[in-house]
Symmetry: C2
Subunit: 286 residues, 2 copies
């Protein structure tokens, strides 16, 4: 079985590690437009050999794990080059654009649109880790458009990685994910920005910040190369979530200015039920 | 040595655990206006016995770890009741109010204003854990107003707990801490609120949220009873940080609406240097 992984960062690299460990008969080929990343992936043992687009005819399976705007160019090109039995999977964080783009593609049946909800704030081949996907959700869009035999092939891999499958429409996916993932990243980046701007003396941040600050700004370490295209391709939904978030913050500030601290207490007490929701996430991921 | 701990939650309880483990000759008395918490603290071994305000004349040292508004009532009352050699420490997250209130107090020399920057999102006696303070910063305000012998007594305890000391003016403390702690909590609470409001179906949050969401909303589990008074007593500074945070978010939204994704990339890339700052915090706390 020949597996091609295009884009050898955190997501593609981590998938390669687990697939390799679970399937001795897989030969893993790597493609990346950054030659340093490709060398690194080879040295780290994420891939068996470096490859080119022209070799894609040998592929039984292709995982495309590149920024979401790049995927819009790469996936159609891959579909042109693979053979008729090959499975092509994309794993990007937005799904409407790629699904629309490919809706009438003659090789649509070879393609499976997925979003494995897993990651860390690190990037590049050295960020790849084993078991990243264990217990995580994989959202699959428009499953009915993929050939049944290829669906089965993909599911076998996802189950082996320990993932739970959830099926969604691309538009619903993009709307929900804006709230539970994309907004968290903006909130974190802007929090980091606000503090850095104010605390010109970084020593003060070092000395005074505790684990709470660390946890809320962790995502501000994330890769702009990955996230800028996500925000671009999910623009409408992200703007809507940002709007609501800003309104809630503004309302909190108004309550502060009016000194309505009873209302502020209630705001916090009402939101405390996030505890139960987070408990669900923890149980899922451990 | 008789130590009284007033308020047996996360902060006071964790301090009691470490002081107990390090000093066999301490007898620890607990006071709490919640009788259930007091019983729990006794059962958990955080304290040796339950006590009342009228017994404070026996105290060599008193730690007041109650919500910051309650401290404004409790600390003066404690200072009235203790003997002339006793040390009274408060550990609240705002320092200007308590320092102003006590500036002319006849027992001012018995009082030390501190803010150990440590905690978790949990509360109550059962949240108390050993080694919470190891490697953390303790900010001490107006140290010169405390009797030298009592300063020494306090420092011995803080060093034993593994804390690093930093001296600051109360107003500077309240301003900086609004950025690196209080704002993180509001950002987290409002993020939790925005998502809960939208995702009426909690199943969707469970299924779609990953570790990034978990990390950014973790602080939304925090106790309103502790945080409402902090926001109230640090009102001006908190409003200022909120203002700047909202402006940064609004500007990000404007860039999204103008489709200036190059600028969005730069915003994120500029904020990425938070990595180095967080590295500093991690080194400090591990």
């Amino acid at each position: 079985m020949n597996l091609f992984v295009i884009g050898l960062g955190l997501i593609g690299g981590s998938m390669a590690i687990d697939i390799r460990n679970l399937n001795e008969d897989f030969r893993i080929f790597g493609i990346d437009n950054n030659p340093d990343h490709l060398d690194e992936a080879l040295t780290l043992g994420l891939i068996d050999e470096k490859a080119e687009f022209d070799e894609l005819h040998k592929a039984d399976m292709v995982i495309v794990s590149v920024p979401v705007n790049a995927a819009l160019k790469v996936v159609p090109e891959v579909l042109e080059k693979v053979n008729d039995e090959a499975l092509v999977i994309d794993v990007g964080s937005t799904k409407s654009n790629i699904c629309s783009l490919l809706s009438e593609h003659p090789r649509r049946r070879n393609f499976l649109a997925t979003h494995p909800i897993a990651g860390t704030e690190y990037s590049g081949p050295s960020a790849a880790i084993p078991n990243l996907y264990k217990g995580k959700t994989n959202i699959i869009c428009e499953v009915e458009k993929t050939a049944f035999k290829l669906q089965e092939k993909a599911m076998k891999i996802f189950y082996d990685l320990g993932m739970r499958i959830r099926y969604m429409e691309p538009n619903a996916h993009d709307k929900h994910i804006a709230y539970v993932s994309h907004l968290s990243h903006i909130s974190s980046f802007m929090l980091g920005k606000t503090v850095i701007e104010k605390e010109k003396n970084e020593r003060d941040i070092f000395d005074m910040a505790g684990s709470g600050f660390e946890s809320t700004v962790r995502l501000a370490k994330s890769s702009p190369a990955m996230w800028q295209p996500i925000f671009e391709l999910n623009k409408e939904n992200v703007i809507e979530t940002l709007d609501e978030y800003i309104q809630n913050l503004q309302q909190f500030k108004d309550l502060m200015e009016k000194e309505d601290f009873d209302a502020i207490y209630r705001e916090m007490a009402d939101t405390n039920r996030i505890k139960d929701i987070l408990k669900g996430i923890s149980i899922k991921t451990t």
